[in-house]
């Protein structure tokens, strides 16, 4: 048990800090469309040029082959630099954290050679086509259909909650290739070129006034069979490898950011008048305890994440912490912003942007996504109950 960083890790942190100070874009990030895409890709290219793309990707695929600890150090230094945008909100997120890693694990040599460099260099945006209107929590019941026609798949159906589909080049797409098989068995994972004819995209605006989500409709969309990743009809397993990646380090950035948010909220409570209209908010015993608890919880969440990293480093296999981290983080994130609304009092009437320091109502509305997206907390609790604790299913 130790918290010591190796000299390499210390050097890495120093290097990251120095580099970030010099290269972080001033922002603000354009809120939508091609400008946003260009901003995110430019930042990815800057990372690539600086040697910061694919920090924990294997060296053979263009990554730096570093550990999750270095990945965490990077996130911490990024947050410390007070960036004008959040990492997990970038339209390069899926490529870096889902699509790319899935190709690394399950892709063919050709798929890797073609796609991975583009992702790292910031040439392309990837999006995810998993959920459907009828397949949310019950993802395996998806019905978007792909029939083999010669050496192509012909896709018909619909996907939903596809972030950045409207600016994406490629999509990791789950389709049903064998409707007669049991529901987990007839699914394939394919790379869909978003410029293929027959694809129609509609933006969905969220309650937090963001329109990065899209619905994607497929009308006889033809995808070469060579774009299947892994075996045909074995896409559920391919997808699960992505999801377990997603449940690991990809969310460290969110946690690091949340810790910074808690500190900003403590500062906010020091300067604002509290519920009694006289003292500072932080002098209110209830607010003070909720802030202290949030600070303790975000600190403990980091400890749980480090325990998870430690386990992966030792055994190569994630421990039970992963799904707990996800569950705890989502609800803590919401509690923090609900507390923020209690602290700002009547200023809660004013809508703010979803990011930016000192903004609370926009992020409050956005916080609802944290217990829904990527599997609702109900599903997370099922996972913890069944897979970690071994409780039976009904």
């Amino acid at each position: 048990m130790n918290l010591d960083f190796t000299p390499d890790e210390d050097a890495f942190r120093e290097e990251a800090r120095t580099w970030l100070a010099e290269h972080l874009p001033a922002g603000p990030r354009p809120p939508e469309g091609d400008e946003m895409r260009a901003f995110d890709l430019a930042w990815q290219r800057t990372l690539y040029d600086g040697g910061w793309a694919g920090i924990n990707w294997p060296v053979e695929f263009g990554g730096r082959g570093l550990t999750d600890i270095q990945q965490m150090i990077w996130y911490e230094e990024f947050a410390r630099a007070e960036p004008p945008f959040t990492l997990n909100n970038s339209c390069t997120f899926v490529g870096n954290n889902h699509g790319g890693p899935t190709l690394i694990v399950s892709g063919s040599d050709e798929q890797k050679a073609f796609h991975l460099p583009k992702i790292l260099r910031g040439d392309v945006v990837w999006c995810q086509g998993f959920s459907e209107p009828g397949a949310g929590s019950d993802l395996a019941s998806l019905s978007c259909r792909a029939e083999i026609d010669g050496d192509e798949l012909v896709v018909n159906g619909q996907k939903i909650w596809t972030s950045y589909a409207h600016v994406a080049d490629f999509q990791e797409l789950l389709v049903r290739t064998d409707p007669s098989a049991p529901k987990h068995k007839g699914i394939s994972w394919v790379i869909c070129d978003m410029r293929t004819p027959g694809i129609e995209i509609r933006e969905i605006t969220t309650m937090s006034h963001v329109n990065d989500f899209c619905e994607v409709f497929y009308d006889d969309v033809r995808i070469p069979l060579t774009n299947v990743v892994g075996q045909i009809n074995d896409g559920w397993r391919t997808a699960m490898s992505t999801l377990s990646f997603e449940r690991g380090t990809a969310f460290m950035a969110d946690q690091v950011e949340l810790a910074a948010v808690v500190e900003r909220l403590i500062d906010e409570a020091r300067t604002r008048t509290g519920p009694d209209g006289r003292r500072a908010a932080i002098a209110d015993d209830e607010i003070a305890r909720r802030l202290a608890t949030a600070r303790a919880e975000v600190t403990a969440l980091r400890a749980m994440t480090i325990a998870g990293i430690s386990r992966v480093l030792r055994t190569g296999v994630p421990g039970p912490e992963g799904s707990m981290v996800r569950l705890f983080h989502g609800e803590l994130h919401q509690r923090v912003y609900q507390l923020a609304l209690d602290i700002i009092g009547a200023d809660a009437l004013r809508l703010t942007s979803i990011d930016g320091h000192g903004n609370w109502t926009g992020p409050y509305l956005q916080s609802f996504a944290y217990t829904i997206g990527g599997g609702t907390t109900d599903i997370q609790r099922n996972i913890v109950g069944e897979r970690v604790l071994g409780l039976p299913r009904v």
């Binding site: 309650m207 009092g345 004013r350």
Partner: protein
């Protein structure tokens, strides 16, 4: 002793519901038709005695109307308009009372944020402003109020901030006990609106729980969803019952009325905020979209919860009171 509405009160509720069903679409701004209908139906003066130019019912019927406006999640300056009529009537301004009753005025709500700043709700389109500050409660011409619009957390409730005090001769003003009286009615009406919001989210979650299927089941069959709905329903019911109780104590000018209004405000605020948040969760992804109406209840509950004092202020005053008899 009977806490349930009389058949006459039930009829009032039915009529309000019918009017709202007819002239209001959840998520749409206030239409002129609804405002005119509200005036025709006497909603603005329903709680005022006939001697004051009112319809002759009481705060009970007034709270039932406000609860239905909450249930429908109807936007529009109903609360401040009704309270402005109270102020006008109590101040003896019969002409103003009648004009408000006729629907001639939309009344914005200005509440003091700090010594030199007011937050004003529903200012666009308002001809009058109800101003609440330490001095009391008064009605002023909207021309006296200059405020800069900001983005509102609730798209349908415009918000603006003044950058100074609100001056200008009031058209009607109350201070002291009269002001306290109107503010007490106001707090009760806020609780009624919040209770309505809480109830509406139960309806929405339960309907979705019966309709939406995952894993081969309507999701309402899963205990996680079912139990959340049960808790939502309980919170909404307890809020509605306490609002009804408090309304009777106000109508009857009972000594414990302020106690019961505080209690109503506390449980109704909790019910509206918790229920509206959980309602989004129950809907999953679709509940997070702008197109779905679930978010309307979230932001409306926040707006109502900040009208005429916060839950914290009512907790503080409730605890300072003697036990109810």
């Amino acid at each position: 002793m009977d806490l349930l509405p009389t058949s006459e009160q039930d009829e009032i509720v039915s009529t309000v519901r019918a009017v709202l069903a007819d002239r209001h679409q959840l998520g749409e701004p206030l239409g002129d038709e609804l405002w005119s209908a509200a005036a025709e139906q006497g909603w603005f003066l329903i709680g005022l005695p006939e001697s004051a130019g009112g319809v002759g019912y009481s705060i009970i019927e007034e709270s039932l109307v406000m609860r239905e406006l909450g249930t429908a999640c109807a936007p529009g300056p109903f609360l401040a308009t009704v309270l402005a009529a109270h102020v006008a009537a109590l101040a003896g301004n019969a002409e103003l009372t009648a004009a408000i009753g006729a629907g001639s005025h939309r009344v914005a709500l200005a509440e003091r944020l700090d010594p030199e700043r007011f937050a004003v709700q529903d200012l666009p389109g308002a001809s009058l402003v109800l101003v609440v500050d330490e001095a009391g409660i008064r009605v002023v011409d909207a021309a006296h109020v200059s405020a800069s619009a900001v983005d509102s957390i609730d798209e349908l409730v415009p918000v603006a901030y003044t950058d100074g005090a609100i001056t200008g001769e009031p058209l009607a003003a109350l201070s002291g006990d009269d002001a306290i009286d109107v503010l007490l009615d106001g707090a009760l009406l806020v609780a009624a609106g919040l209770a309505g919001l809480a109830e509406a989210t139960v309806t929405q979650s339960v309907a979705y729980g019966k309709d939406r299927e995952q894993f081969g089941q309507p999701i309402g069959a899963f205990q996680a969803v079912k139990h959340r709905c049960a808790d939502m329903a309980t919170r909404a019911e307890i809020a509605s019952c306490q609002v009804a109780y408090a309304a009777i104590t106000r109508r009857d000018r009972r000594d414990d009325a302020a106690f019961h209004v505080d209690a109503a405000r506390i449980v109704a605020t909790r019910a509206a905020i918790d229920n509206s948040q959980i309602n989004v969760q129950n809907h999953g992804g679709i509940g997070f979209t702008w197109e779905h109406t679930a978010h309307r209840f979230v932001t409306r509950a926040r707006v109502w919860s900040l009208r005429l004092g916060s839950s914290a202020s009512h907790q503080s005053s409730l605890l300072a009171r003697s036990a109810a008899d």
